[in-house]
Amino acid sequence: MAKKNSKNWLLIPIIALIYLLVFVAEKVAGTSSMLVTVLEKGAIYALIAVSLNLLNGFTGLFSLGQAGFMLVGAYTYAVLTIPMAKRAAVYQYYNGGCITFTVPFIIAIILGGLLAAAFAALIGFPVLRLKSDYLAIATLGFAEIARALVQFDGLGPITNGSNLLKTYPTYKTVMFPFCAAGICIAIILLLIHSTYGRAFKAIRDDEIAAEAMGINLFRHKELSFVISSFFAGVGGALLAMYQGTLQANAFKSSMTYEILLIVVIGGMGSVSGSVIASFLFIACSEWWLRFLDAEQFIWGIKVPLLRSGFRMVVFAVVIMLIVLFYSRGIMGDREISIDRIIKKFSKKKGATK
């Protein structure tokens, strides 16, 4: 129930302000600056992390298939949008490929999501009857199969096998991934706070009680799985746009683990946690720790240990520290709330008096 005197409406102007800041930052720093790159990738990862959180954090289904659904979305997008004139060059080993039409990029993104959702619906039938670890293994298997299939030579005329897909349209401004991810996350939030979202949470908390309350376990799990995969597919399409070129090799299971890590660091069952964590994660791995990769000299002395790859060692330690000290993630299962922040500050004031 909405509490009276809630100040949470303040979040709306704050989010608007963030969007404005991003817009200004792009103008000031330039489209190819590190800041903008991190913001772009962070927004896309935020969407994918939230979609995985819907499954892992809110429905309690431990799935590791996200990279597979992203792959489906990314390839659908790229294959359907490469301009006809450039197909011959891209599909040079497959006589220009067998698809002889293109669709507008917005429709291609949505189709990417829908195809990922269709795959999810299909594999959901057998897989969602499994519990916890077995579900993780089965979905991981699906992701690997999807990647192998895309690289399969027989499907080359469609997917270009293991060769690069390129020259498909990409976005011009950071606002595009920001707005697309924002809209998708808003839809997921609305779903989570609807009666279906409550049913998902009931399944997570106690399957037996949820079933006794008349919730059809399989149908709701399938629903959550399909919706999560839809947004993973959309996220994959956005990621393809971000990268500019596309190769199935990038969508390994380590990509799923990256996203799972974001979800765990942000907090299982917290949308705002996933969003914050994905920006922090991308900033750390791509930007803030970069200096560790280059040899550095302070007063003419070479700093020990710094070399290419050392960044990842430090990064691993940082993650271990976070998991040690915030075992339930940055946000736990709560969301950002202005009310709570105000409460915290007023409490601190009270203590100093």
């Binding site: 609807s194 009666t195 009680a209 309350m213």
Partner: protein
């Protein structure tokens, strides 16, 4: 008219016969108790009615339409130790618990199973989910505002019925034990049941709370036109509110009748009352 008819139910786990050829009939508007010593198979009987277990043999009927029918098959056909094995051959029906709840059988649990991350109000709200008419799309984009309002009002009413309206925004698991039990009843009532199964509703309550519970159960029975079937160990409560009592021991029915008959039944005293209450 019988609301619930349990017919020759046998539940066998491997070689263990948890319920042996149990038959019961509960009429509309009755409060019926199921009692028996620990491990007699009472909760297993509930699980066979609500679809959590598929009985090895036998049939359940709700308002005279079947909700479970089974006969021993496969490996169980060889190890089956009950009787009437051939009566149901050729028929098979297994409804999942959610379908049975939709038909109108709601239950509470012996070891309280509230949704841990939710408030008391949200717990009850889950119980209204099955009466929704919205689909995921309309629910996401808030096209079901009127229905949502109705569900919320219904959930709030149920909280009021059990006297927890002022604790609506408390975390369900932070409530005291007795109130958690009442919250479970509110949640079950929110599903709009015709038959309410209560699994040890008074467990962990003090004598005063137990007495209140007896009044409360009668009250909701009249108010919502319910039929109540309960498992209970507090003999005072059972004798006080039940119209009829079934006694089972080692999965077998050993007695059936009105409270006065049960109190004086030597088989019951031997199996249960004499041992348990000195």
């Amino acid at each position: 008219m019988s609301v619930l008819r349990v017919e020759n139910i046998t539940m066998q786990f491997g070689g263990v016969v948890a319920i042996n050829n149990l038959s019961m009939e509960i009429n509309k508007g009755e409060i019926v108790a199921l009692i028996g010593p620990n491990g007699a198979g009472k909760t297993t009987a509930f699980n066979c009615i609500t679809g959590v277990y598929e009985p090895t043999n036998g049939a359940d009927y709700f308002n005279d339409s079947p909700i479970a029918i089974n006969h021993p098959t496969g490996k169980m056909a060889k190890t089956y130790a009950g009787i009437n094995a051939d009566q149901y051959v050729g028929k098979h029906l297994h409804m999942t618990p959610d379908k049975i709840t939709k038909l109108g059988i709601a239950r509470t649990f012996q070891n309280i199973r509230l949704f841990k991350s939710m408030t008391a109000f949200e717990n009850v709200l889950i119980g209204t989910h099955l009466r929704r008419t919205s689909n995921p799309f309309s629910a996401t984009f808030r096209l079901n505002m009127r229905e949502e309002k109705k569900l919320r009002a219904h959930a709030m009413d149920m909280l009021e019925v059990v006297g927890l309206a002022d604790l609506a925004d408390e975390k369900a698991t932070s409530l005291p034990y007795g109130k958690q039990r009442r919250l479970e009843i509110a949640r079950a009532l929110a599903t709009d049941p015709k038959l309410l199964l209560l699994d040890e509703p008074a467990a962990g309550m003090n004598p005063q709370e137990t007495d209140d519970l007896g009044v409360f159960i009668r009250d909701i029975k009249d108010r919502f036109d319910l039929t109540v079937f309960l498992i209970e160990h507090h003999m005072n409560l059972v004798m006080d509110i039940s119209d009829r009592i079934y006694v089972i021991d080692f999965g077998k029915q050993i007695a059936e009748g009105v409270p006065a008959e049960i109190r004086d039944n030597p088989a019951v005293i031997a199996a249960y009352l004499g041992v348990d209450e000195e």
